[in-house]
């Protein structure tokens, strides 16, 4: 077993992983950019190494600097967290070459699933349903137009190397295609270094439901049930819960079986998530996230299992600690993401200094926070401040606890998504579990 874990990340997820490491008696190393010198995650670790200037590409995205930081600190394992380099197969490979245990899947699994068109082909071959779409990236706007005509509008353009909603463009009709094509390819090039874009039929009013999977080096793969993540803005999630409300048992069974089959087909090891679009009784594979998810706490709350500790154990070569029939889904858990964004200004980022912060406590309330009073929320990184997770014996109790917790939450100094989250949680459609991916953008929660 490795003894010292470097977490190549920042914010709440770095702190969450340090906690898991302490559970296993492992020493911890934080890394930080100049902008994060005083960040809470730096103080949480046994050691901290400066890795460069504030822009992420010169610090948290710089593979050579991170490997050097691991060497300097004597770390023998690296946890990538989410975002940054977590789905960069070259980073996983660089860790392996440097003799560091990468706490995550193999570079090959990351590479295959990171190429969204290859992932679609591999999943289809494993019998997992996929959204009708182009089997390869399309060459130009005219080719995209020809393909869109065969599946019918609306369509969505997606970056082949993409993820996190970046480089996606919805096209309602043919006249919008050329403009959307230009935007999507430019964003894909800027974000991923590859302009390749493919076309998929766009499913309106679908639900986003994902399945947590976990594999070990012995070839076992289990699912850890589903998460409902339909409430999003800019294709990024705001609210996640488990179980998914009103999900037909046959659909749930189909999803979890498909997820396990898909993960098994690529020999997947460690924690991963297969995302699906659910349209009534049909479901389609969207993509796989080959890492720990932001929303992993809702799964932990309903299963009573610690995903980070399991990641450490499996990375050290241990078999999965639980067989499938020991992974039970009990009660309900809901997570909301508090971002430094102004919902009144179309979610414009709201950087600044947190002058006051009161987070709730109480039965069934869990907070995963990357900030404290005085933290400077910089322009350089993702605007997630903290996650609030409420659980209960069932969905009504989880909602009641979440409602109370949101009322007592105070953040001053930056604008946040808190007012929107309060509106969502009070909304009758949310209360009865009737959610779909377009609700925020269609203004269901306005006014």
């Amino acid at each position: 077993m490795f003894r010292t874990v470097l977490v190549a990340n920042r914010g709440e997820i770095a702190r969450r992983i340090f906690r898991g490491c302490r559970t296993r008696g492992l020493a911890t190393v934080a890394v930080y950019s100049e902008a994060d010198r005083d960040a809470p995650h730096v103080k949480d670790a046994d050691r901290a190494i400066a890795i460069g200037p504030p822009p992420a590409r010169e610090s948290y995205l710089d593979i050579a600097r991170l490997i050097a930081a691991a060497r300097e600190s004597g770390a023998d394992a690296v946890h990538p967290g989410y975002g940054f380099l977590s789905e960069n197969w070259r980073f996983a490979e660089a860790c392996a070459q440097a003799g560091l245990t990468f706490i995550g899947p193999s570079p090959e699994a990351i590479r295959v699933m990171g190429d969204k068109t290859e992932a679609r082909r591999r999943m289809a071959a494993a019998g997992v349903p996929i959204v009708p779409g182009s089997p390869e990236p399309v060459a130009d706007a005219a080719a995209a137009q020809r393909f869109a005509a065969t599946v019918g509008y609306p369509v969505i353009l997606k970056a082949a190397a993409g993820g996190g909603g970046i480089g996606m463009a919805k096209v309602m009709q043919e006249s919008e295609l050329a403009g959307a094509w230009a935007t999507a390819t430019r964003r894909a090039q800027a974000a991923f270094g590859r302009a390749d874009v493919y076309v998929e039929r766009y499913v309106e009013r679908g639900r986003h439901v994902e399945v947590q999977v976990f594999g070990d080096t012995k070839g076992s793969v289990v699912h850890m049930h589903e998460r409902e993540c339909s409430i999003q803005r800019r294709h990024q999630k705001l609210v996640e819960e488990s179980p998914a409300p009103n999900l037909a048992p046959a659909v749930k069974r189909g999803l979890t079986e498909a997820a396990v089959a898909g993960a098994r087909a690529i020999g997947y090891v460690n924690a991963g998530t297969l995302e699906f679009l659910v349209d009534e009784d049909n479901f389609y594979f969207l993509e796989m996230n080959t890492r720990l998810q932001v929303e992993h706490p809702v799964t932990e709350q309903v299963t009573g299992l610690d995903l980070v500790v399991a990641q450490l154990d499996v990375a050290a070569g241990a078999p999965l600690p639980w067989p499938q029939d020991a992974v039970l889904q009990r009660g309900a858990a809901i997570e909301v993401r508090v971002y430094a964004e102004d919902p009144a200004k179309n979610f414009l980022p709201s950087p600044g200094t947190i002058t006051r912060l009161t987070v709730p406590t109480g039965d069934g309330i869990r907070i995963e926070s990357g900030v404290v009073e005085g933290t400077v929320v910089s322009v350089h990184y993702d605007p997630l401040l903290f996650k609030l997770i409420a659980s209960g014996s069932g969905r009504p109790q989880a909602i009641a606890r979440l409602t109370g917790a949101l009322e007592t939450c105070v953040v001053e100094g930056v604008k946040t998504t808190l007012p929107l989250l309060r509106t969502i949680v009070a909304h009758p459609d949310f209360r009865r579990g009737a959610v779909h991916t377009q609700m925020v953008e269609q203004g269901a929660f306005n006014g």
Binding site: P55, R234, A340, P349, G352, V379
Partner: protein
């Protein structure tokens, strides 16, 4: 009289999409800021010609700071 185009948000200049002398229509992006992983255009408030660009790519600008002049 030249009109100041101000950043409506704090961010880093991601791209300077115009140069002095360029004609722009109302709503055209003059520069693009990046903040918290989002690209946010700073748009021309009216039609005109760009007189001066006061920022360069990679520079941090504060909300309310003048980024360009419009003629």
């Amino acid at each position: 009289m030249a009109e100041e185009i101000k950043a409506h948000i704090t961010g880093v200049v991601f791209q300077v999409t115009t140069k002095p002398g360029d004609r722009v229509a109302a709503g055209d992006p003059v520069i693009v800021l990046e903040s918290m992983k989002m690209e946010i255009p700073v748009e021309a408030p009216r039609a005109g010609a760009v007189k001066e660009i006061r920022v360069r790519e990679g520079q941090t600008v504060q909300e309310g700071e003048t980024v360009a002049l419009l003629e």
